[in-house]
């Protein structure tokens, strides 16, 4: 009876309780007994669901370790530092994919973080109040667009622009310079590390911006107003007040972006070029761990090939795990509740 009663406002609950008092005494204990009987079931079910999360996490580690065991057994720890990748001779090394992953992610953070902070400062300090929620949602929509759409757009729109306009210009301008010139040489393919990094920078922008904005919201209003009151400019408030106050949160936001960039798959796969070589030039085609997996997994024949690919997956998971743990510590030590 209690089961079917429309549960709702406190008023209706009270009248329920009142009705119960009129129920014959013999029936009342049974209702209570039912409640206490279902309680352990519900509690156990919710505990089991929570346990599943831990099991998934442990399962990922266990599965990847188990599957990549043959590769690590054959190649040993040098697997990580070996740069050959030859399915024909069954010689595999992770170095090109690992460096590619790190380089594209660093490019993404170097380009994406300032952009994201600019957006966050704009939304926090300059944006007209009416536009604020619309513009915030618009930036958040960048995070909603699927990775594969970024990849297609990158391949069909950004790559031609890069190869015809941007890369030739940069090669001419920076290529002959000593030291940094080495990063900007070679033929303008359009695809390559830099293009992948640029796409990634757009993809991680909304994450960095929205976590930064949440950090900005913790700056005491009095502090900002005091600064403006003593004649500080908008830039000075951003640079001297907000930035120092939310330093930990911002670094956490950037780390979160880095974590996202490291594991991004489809967008990178389209524009990276899938070449297992380590090259100085950012314009050269390369590969990342996730792009290698996406490109080669379904056509990987042979136990060692498959095991090496799963070993790459394990390395990727280990790297992102470390980055995400640091992110979590940073964002928690800022003592704020921020979605990671």
């Amino acid at each position: 009876m209690e089961e079917t009663a429309p549960a709702g406002t406190m008023a209706s609950r009270n009248s329920n309780a009142f009705d119960q008092a009129k129920v014959p005494a013999a029936q009342r204990p049974r209702l209570v007994a039912f409640g206490s009987g279902f309680e352990p079931v519900f509690g156990l079910a919710s505990r089991a669901a929570a346990l599943l999360v831990v099991l998934v996490m442990a399962g990922i580690f266990a599965t990847l370790c188990y599957q990549s065991f043959p590769a690590f057994k054959t190649f040993g720890l040098p697997f990580i530092f070996n740069s050959s990748w030859n399915p024909v001779t069954d010689k595999f090394g992770a170095l090109p994919a690992v460096t590619g992953t790190l380089i594209t992610s660093i490019v993404a953070v170097v380009c994406g973080a300032p952009l994201a902070l600019g957006v966050a400062f704009y939304l926090n300090e300059l944006c007209p109040f009416r536009l604020r929620s619309i513009l915030t949602t618009t930036i958040e929509l960048l995070a909603a667009i699927p990775s594969i759409i970024y990849g297609m757009w990158g391949l069909f729109v950004l790559v031609p622009i890069m190869s015809k306009i941007i890369q030739p210009a940069v090669i001419n301008a920076l290529g002959p310079l000593p030291l940094i010139g080495a990063f900007f040489q070679g033929p303008p393919f359009g695809i390559g590390m830099l293009t992948a990094g640029l796409i990634l920078s757009i993809m991680i922008l909304p994450f960095i911006a929205s976590v930064s904005l949440q950090a900005f919201a913790t700056v005491p209003v009095a502090l900002r107003e005091a600064a403006y009151g003593t004649g500080a400019s908008v830039w000075e408030v951003c640079y001297r007040i907000i930035l120092p106050y939310t330093k930990t949160g911002i670094i956490g936001a950037i780390m979160l972006g880095l974590g996202r960039a490291l594991g991004e798959t489809m967008a990178v796969t389209f524009v990276i070029g899938n070449a297992h070589r380590i090259q100085m030039s950012l314009f050269a085609p390369g590969t990342t761990i996730s792009a290698t997996l996406a490109n080669e997994f379904t056509e990987a024949f042979g136990k060692m090939y498959l095991s090496s690919l799963l070993a790459l997956g394990l390395i990727l998971f280990a790297i992102t795990f470390v980055v995400l743990v640091i992110t979590r510590i940073l964002l928690h030590s800022a003592n704020r509740k921020i979605p990671v």
């Binding site: 309780a17 209570v32 990922i60 957006v119 704009y122 300059l126 667009i145 990775s147 998971f317």
Partner: protein, 281 residues
């Protein structure tokens, strides 16, 4: 004290310059979003014919549509959400109600935070090792399970956050009236947090609708229309990947149409979720 006009001018100039950069950052970000949407509409709309929804994926050069891919995507996403919602809501409830400060609760929260941002391709590899290898073939179920584990952390996170917004006084009042704990959660906690929980579920739905990487290792692809979850299943993102990377123009056209469909769906879901939560809370 006299103001130095030189310093003042420098500060003003710096301020103008940085404000200009902030505007530029905003324009670039929104410009990229606009550029992506314009390209999708420009290349997708004119190929959007009824045959897209009625015919299966073609061989290069012949006429066809995306019917099998749409069916596959709907099936996989439907089952993924079907599994993820009860588990996610229950686990989120545990974190917000029973295990708020328990050690186990902290462990679960930690794992959930990591899974929330972990690369989706890793989840795909996990299901490959867990389901595909032992069973011996790719299947729709494997794909649904992979997507389920990607939706799960999102749902758990929002459920916990939303339940925590429910004031404790409300909980205490309910318990004081003699209500069993579980009933308090169901009829007070869930009821009060419902708009937020639903928003989380819709956002999870939006997220997994466009996921591609985990499906590569789990449901793979199928050129034919299939309703069997036990066999390889074609899904929209995988077909887009395959067709966009191909050298055939008509396949690339279909890839654009598919991208348009997915993006419109995902953006509509995300906007709807935001409006929904804003209206109700």
């Amino acid at each position: 004290m006299k103001l130095d006009p030189g310093i003042l001018r420098k500060r003003r100039l710096m301020n103008r310059f940085m404000i200009g950069l902030f505007h530029l950052a905003m324009i670039v970000s929104i410009g990229v979003l606009a550029a992506i949407l314009i390209k999708l509409v420009a290349d997708g709309v004119h190929s959007l014919a009824p045959s897209v929804f009625t015919m299966s994926t073609p061989a290069p050069g012949s006429k066809g549509g995306l019917f099998n891919a749409i069916v596959g995507s709907v099936l996989v996403v439907f089952f993924a959400i079907l599994f993820a919602v009860p588990i996610g809501v229950l686990a989120g409830t545990y974190l917000a109600e029973y295990g708020r400060d328990s050690r186990f609760g902290h462990v679960v929260r930690f794992c959930n935070d990591i899974l929330l941002s972990a690369p989706s391709i890793i989840t795909g590899l996990f299901i490959y090792g867990l389901v595909v290898l032992p069973v011996g073939h790719f299947s729709g179920w494997a794909g649904a399970l992979a997507l389920c584990f990607i939706a799960l952390p999102v749902i758990i996170r929002t459920t916990e956050d939303m339940l925590r917004l429910v004031p404790d006084t409300l909980r205490e009042a309910t318990i004081a009236l003699g209500c069993p704990y579980w009933k308090m959660i169901v009829s007070i906690g869930w009821r009060a947090a419902r708009p937020g929980i639903v928003t989380g579920i819709i956002l999870a739905l939006a997220r997994i609708s466009g996921e591609t990487a985990p499906l590569l290792f789990t449901s793979l692809n199928n050129q034919f229309t299939s309703f069997s979850m036990n066999a390889p299943l074609s899904t929209l993102p995988i077909v887009i990947f395959q067709f966009a990377m191909s050298p055939y123009r008509d396949w690339q056209q279909l890839a654009w149409v598919g991208s348009l469909l997915i993006t419109v769906t995902v953006l509509a879901l995300s906007i709807f979720a935001r409006l929904f939560s804003r209206r109700k809370t």
